[in-house]
Symmetry: D2
């Protein structure tokens, strides 16, 4: 089935393989009149680029984006925006080995089972490079949100056993360190931890948190199109994500109602506020005016250089060592992908909500 399109009204369709000619995205349903340049998109892509950190794969890629359609005289026209990134560093490796066996923790086996064969070069479509399209599309979504006064912050909250401390939480710090942690001390500890794992030819998992401020109340629809359900799918569609929660998440399962309920009150400006935010910004699947807080669990990078047991396509049990240096951590490079998927989901919810009330429709059409 067609699984490469995301969104109902604001849609992206991504394409491309790790070692194919190019990767890209078509963004459809973007409203006309948004100022947009390649620089807007490139800024996002640079945040996920390989080679930017000690803790990311040293693959050399410019990941320079080209906008091919949908923008005229600096503004979006309402027609689909096609964007493309050419692959450059894709002839270096020898993939004859990888073709013959199934890497643990990767999709090699399941692709073969599903499709009968696979593009084995660098993971093909199931490579992390697949996220280029998401991030390019998300950059546009984020720009729409910004125009409407909505901002997103995304950062790493834990790496392996090291978590940030709430009393050291500093959003600016998340931009200063290469691990995107909003806690300088934790970032230093995590860096040391990762260095030790690299020596052991091992890798680490981590958690990423995303906070959205300025979101209007009323986004999301009851039942199947709850805002949190949409976000759950969006975030879980990112490779390596194994858990998702909103607000207190799993901790709420261990709490009591008296502790977990957020009391309502009247804020300084006379508006209704929640005095706490255990809910993470949604009630009944609809945004409640508090900051939206979501969290994703990323598994450790499955590509590790230490020996692993597996089987080959002849049905023989073998031991392999995956050559080359890989990211010892997915979570840090996942930050911008989580942000992109969140932005895409919120824009779609904003558009869907435009027809929720007769009085809004009359405002538009009368």
């Amino acid at each position: 089935m067609a699984g490469s399109t995301y969104g109902n009204i604001f849609k992206i369709t991504t394409w491309g393989e790790s070692h194919g000619k190019a990767l890209g995205v078509v963004v459809d349903g973007c409203p006309a009149g948004l100022s947009l340049t390649e620089e807007d998109v490139q800024a996002y892509l640079n945040r996920r680029k390989p080679g930017a950190s000690r803790f990311a794969t040293p693959r050399k890629e410019d990941d320079a984006v080209e906008i091919l359609s949908g923008v005229f005289e600096g503004k979006t026209t309402g027609t689909p925006i096609s964007m493309m990134v050419r692959n450059k560093d894709h002839h270096s490796a020898d993939y004859s080995k990888i073709a013959s066996y199934y890497r643990p923790g990767h999709a090699d086996y399941t692709f073969d089972e599903k499709y009968g064969f696979r593009d084995y070069r660098g993971g093909g479509r199931s490579s992390g490079r697949e996220t280029i399209g998401r991030v390019a599309g998300g950059a546009i979504a984020a720009k729409i949100l910004k125009e409407l006064g909505i901002t997103i912050s995304t950062y790493v909250t834990s790496i392996g056993p090291i978590s940030i401390a709430q009393n050291r939480f500093d959003l600016n710090e998340a931009k200063n360190n290469e691990l995107n942690m909003p806690d300088k001390v934790a970032a230093q500890e995590a860096a040391a931890y990762l260095e030790s794992l690299i020596k052991e030819k091992n890798s680490a998992g981590g958690t990423v948190e995303c906070m959205v401020q300025g979101l209007p109340t009323g986004l999301g629809d009851p039942v199947f199109e709850k805002l949190d359900a949409g976000l759950a799918k969006a975030i879980f569609s990112i490779g390596a994500v194994k858990g998702f929660e909103i607000g207190d998440g799993f901790a709420a399962a261990h709490a009591t109602g008296a502790d977990n309920n957020d009391a309502f009150g009247i804020g300084a400006d006379g508006n209704v506020i929640k005095k706490t935010n255990h809910s993470g910004g949604t009630l009944g699947g609809i945004s409640d005016g508090s900051p939206l807080i979501l969290r994703a669990a990323f598994k450790p990078t499955p590509s590790i250089a230490s020996p692993q047991e597996t089987v080959n396509k002849n049905g023989e049990e073998i031991t392999i060592e995956i050559a080359g240096r890989h990211d010892p951590l997915i979570a840090a490079r996942g930050v911008v992908v989580v942000e992109a998927m969140t932005a895409l989901t919120l824009v779609d919810a904003l558009f869907a909500n435009a027809s929720a009330r007769m009085d809004t429709l009359k405002k538009i059409y009368e």
Copy 2:
């Protein structure tokens, strides 16, 4: 936006409010030739019925389902199956109070913000009774799965601070106790814990796990329609769910690659197997032949009888006590809902996968 339809090829559309005339579902895209009776569906509905346990609301409802279309001479015809449950016990309460204020932890406030007003009787569309449609639809999905050799088991793994012990895990036990826990000891402890909470006019959260066996490899599509992404949305669309994970889930974020990767091997029957199942049955978003394991975190019931701070529609801060007896726990009654949503998602994935390969298509059409 229309948020009451779930699924791409196998679709359900649910409708109805807690205190309206009836609730129901239209199941569309059900293949022709499935034996189906009202009893098949009723068996599922009985698992979510109120009044069946000390720990569930004593509201009296038969929840007797009527199949109105789509079945002829005992078999599905391929046309939409409409099912309906009439509400009976819905005139008793006085809802004038609830109309005037916002219950903490409920969707009262967000519905008002989104739609301008709300059906305040018993929570309207955001009531737990909304799940009747899901469960009735899920009963049909589960029957399709069963015909294809796929079975689902769902149970409660923790209530408040009490978790099941893996060494006492017993699936049959989950059917014996009213808390659906596969561990007799834990169930007894949890029951005592809930009794104490009831006395305190408080409520508990809990976690629900679902295990699917017999699933073919190859279900789910790369990128946005990953099987786990679909399940994440399905489960997160259930009211009160605040967290979702698959396999090791959040624990994977604290593990290393060497620990988290599942080695492949050759099983007794000569087929490829995974020696462990940290992944929870999917790799790259595609089912990998191991049991599918997912987990949902349910928040505590927000309706508690102890005093709570909130605001009314006049913008005044008030203190309320929610009258009546409510479920002290959502998780146990959520078990069948989790199972239903899982079944619906799997059936859709099975159908989507039918066109993944040219050789399958040739088998169908030549």
Copy 3:
């Protein structure tokens, strides 16, 4: 596949068979705050009711609609509106014969081929009674349009060889005669023609035209979601429709550009107008401010009482005579169905268009 849901943002899901327990529809995505009563819907259903005319089947059905959800205190709440009509007159006939053979011009054969068997009672799901759900849903769509200043007129323009004359065109007349023709003379001629066909146990085709006034410019999207493409599908999904055109339609294929182009000019109010309307109200798939004009060709009723050649399920060639009296004409009862499908499509296009421009979004959210 699920084929019983129509619409992208404003959706209807219909269900029910000719001789099942009931037929109905779930309308999802209806904005909150629309005044709605059962009478609003009943008025539309009465226009398609059997037994209302000499030229319609004498089957006795009240077709009394019940609204089961989605309306509270006289207004839509934004949640799904479920509506149902119980079948009454459905035990009279003996369907053992019809079960054994394939009626020419009906879907008996194709249902059997597709699904392996069929609900043969009165055509099952492929009966004209299937349109009850569409018409009930369309009544709500039409009410939304009316609130936004948009009106729809639908009428029969030809029956067999008899067409209305443009110089006698009178919209009011279409409501006066039982054939819904906006031309008294043509209606009388057509009635005489139908009387003669009834005597011959034969039936007639006809064409239906729909005109929409007050439609804003800008509805419809370029490429695949052109307004006319959406209408084409909507109208062609009605059983018995074999042709669809917009504006000059097939006549445009015989015209030259100089004749077919509509010149633009400045109207009395200073706005841009089209001086003619060969286009029928759309340019490039987007509404152009002129009245929308569409036309549907209905084939003759396939159920005729004269002898016909066919085959039975044993593979034998036989001659049949279809018992009972049937509509000698589908077109007249198709009028309200065409109107319903047009209304549904327009409402969906209105909602989709809400996010076409950044400045509209800012008006909604800022």
Copy 4:
């Protein structure tokens, strides 16, 4: 709204403007294991290429397609196939004039009304070049159909007042003449007619017919996803199409039931056949085993060089003459577009039908 994606399971997403950098398509949901080369696609694109005929615009474009993803070692992998055609001849014209006024019969005015402004170069997204993506996608769909034994023939049946004669119908002839007419005499008359129109700076409409052979019975779903409804939308989404019919189409509206019903009989091979094909290959919206016959009415090219009245953006009435030479006829170049849209729709229907019966599902999964 996102209007650039077509299809439910087999989907294409097209992008690009007449004078942008490139145009393209992403084909998603293509089954794995289909042999595919750029030549397969180029052969289709060459059929719509400008400059290939006296009667087509002399714009110079190679329209050379590049496959960017989704194909590995000569076969489709199941992942999205991205294809692109770079624009070359797009800097020649001066579009300052066209920017200031609204061309009659074009989408200039409606784009401005919908989006606030437009990419006025060569019609932007509403140019005929938009069909490049459809045709490239359709080439893949046609290849899938061919593998399943289904063939499509498409040809011009009338140009202005000249229609083909059924007794001279010759499918091979349609490939020999530049007007794609299956009647040598009619093609010569039409050519003469077009020459005279070119001298008059005028243009002609035409009709295109498409015939599909080898289609299995059972495609299409009752109610809204009727095969003919899907085709109606597909064909009507092509710019310049103003009418669509299937089988006898509008002629059926003037026929009687006795004439229009197709009698069933037993064919030479013992299978059920229809003795005539007034229905055009569908009954109840489901393919009936007879050849599928559909017809599209194309309006005359709106770009004509003779003087036309219109208005400019300052609200002044002006007279314009559209410079340059344009196609005097859209229908002939529309042939391959009709074929592409038909192929895309049929592939999607084939995939949707895979889950219509439990026994088919058991064949796939057991």
